[in-house]
Symmetry: C2
Subunit: 282 residues, 2 copies
Amino acid sequence: MKRFIAAISALAVSIGCYADNTWRTLELDNTILMTLPQGKVVIELAPQFTPKHVDKFKKLAKQGFYDGVKFYRVIDGFVAQAGPADGSEKDKSVPNIAMEGEWTTNEKFSYTQVQSPDLFAEITGFKDGFALAHNPKEKSAWLTHCPGVIAMARGNEPDTGSSHFYIVNGQAPRYLDRIMSIFGRVVYGMNHIQSLQRTAVIEGDTPVDKKDHSPIISMQLMADVKPEDRILIEVENTESEKYLEKIIDRKKREAAFFYKKPPPVLDICQTPVKSRVVKSSS
Amino acid sequence: MKRFIAAISALAVSIGCYADNTWRTLELDNTILMTLPQGKVVIELAPQFTPKHVDKFKKLAKQGFYDGVKFYRVIDGFVAQAGPADGSEKDKSVPNIAMEGEWTTNEKFSYTQVQSPDLFAEITGFKDGFALAHNPKEKSAWLTHCPGVIAMARGNEPDTGSSHFYIVNGQAPRYLDRIMSIFGRVVYGMNHIQSLQRTAVIEGDTPVDKKDHSPIISMQLMADVKPEDRILIEVENTESEKYLEKIIDRKKREAAFFYKKPPPVLDICQTPVKSRVVKSSS
């Protein structure tokens, strides 16, 4: 670990220690393998930010609750939402859970700053690969609605989430930040989420039959998957010195392609955190 | 047409006249029907902003140039790019075209303002359904890279576009604004663009064979399509009073769902301009 002083003074990145290791291995016990007819999707859970939702989602996955459940609300450029049939016994069997839309920060709260100000927040950045926003005055931080995040759906009242979840599949709906509980993000197979059968069609177009809604074949905790069937993923360590350098470079846009420089700002949801496959499923 | 004074004074929207008609019919001569194995895609061209590119694209489509051409660069969350094999006779047959990345504005330039300031520009808004950004001091405006826009690809030098084009399929890469020539947008079938075979895989994943790249079956000007096979689309008239009211409402977020209000800002690329089908293909 070393302090990265040059960047701190030059670009107002957060003060903190940056790690040397540029990749981070996902924990089997905080990783989900969702198998769809379209292909396999890997989700990293975020117990450090949304502990109760992660705990609940893991329990439901372990019970096989989501196996056979369908994506019944898939709107292009917005979200893909899944859950048991509204009002069914299965649906009613899951108690509600209280919101975990943001958390209180103290002076020790550190992360890799990306942009300040952002259109929707004072500061945006990454911590453990998750895009977040931070308001130091309000001492509050929250995970942001970028493409690929998974969050719990709810009714109009805040503490009404149960088992229905959605994955953002389009331009970041940041207006949902702080009022929804984001508890993970897709780190592999987002193309399969993008291939799910859309359920909402535009006015005048042919409606989609419910029987054609895409099902979830299985939702498993990666730790419970047979070793030979596991997909092992590493993600960029957003607390590494190398990642910080990438952020700084990305703002500069020094490649010859940029014959005219764009503004030196970054959209947190358009700033990549790469994944790589260490082991595919057999 | 009537002046919409309340909104002008309250929310600094652009001064102008707003139309009563809330939907606008696309012109057959400025609409493209792209047929893919995945389904049919309709693109509205933007000759009012990018005349030379539209003229060229229409000519190429009329020649059947794009029929059989493949999407050879499809990166999830970024772009889907198509064109003839690099360096092939077909590729070399098309002369380069000069950039049309922005245009000069005068005091009469009007549009429906959405957001000021935006993260990447002084003002954003819509004109004729197209998302644009405007810098009044520089007297410059440009179409912005929102999901679904189609633009010409190029090499490092600005005036090196020819026939290769891309469609944005992920979070808006706004850093490409002004340095690429956007000449249209997908108004129907974006789900099929999202289902194109990805060609770039992450490190460690199984590479995709070129033979599996998604082809374009045909690219036709809608005016040249047999009447019974045409898809007729209307889009929201972004210069209508009703659309302006929607923008104002969207910033307020008054629905009960918003138990805590988000900031009263709008991301231009997350602000919908709806389409509706007037006639499907037979």
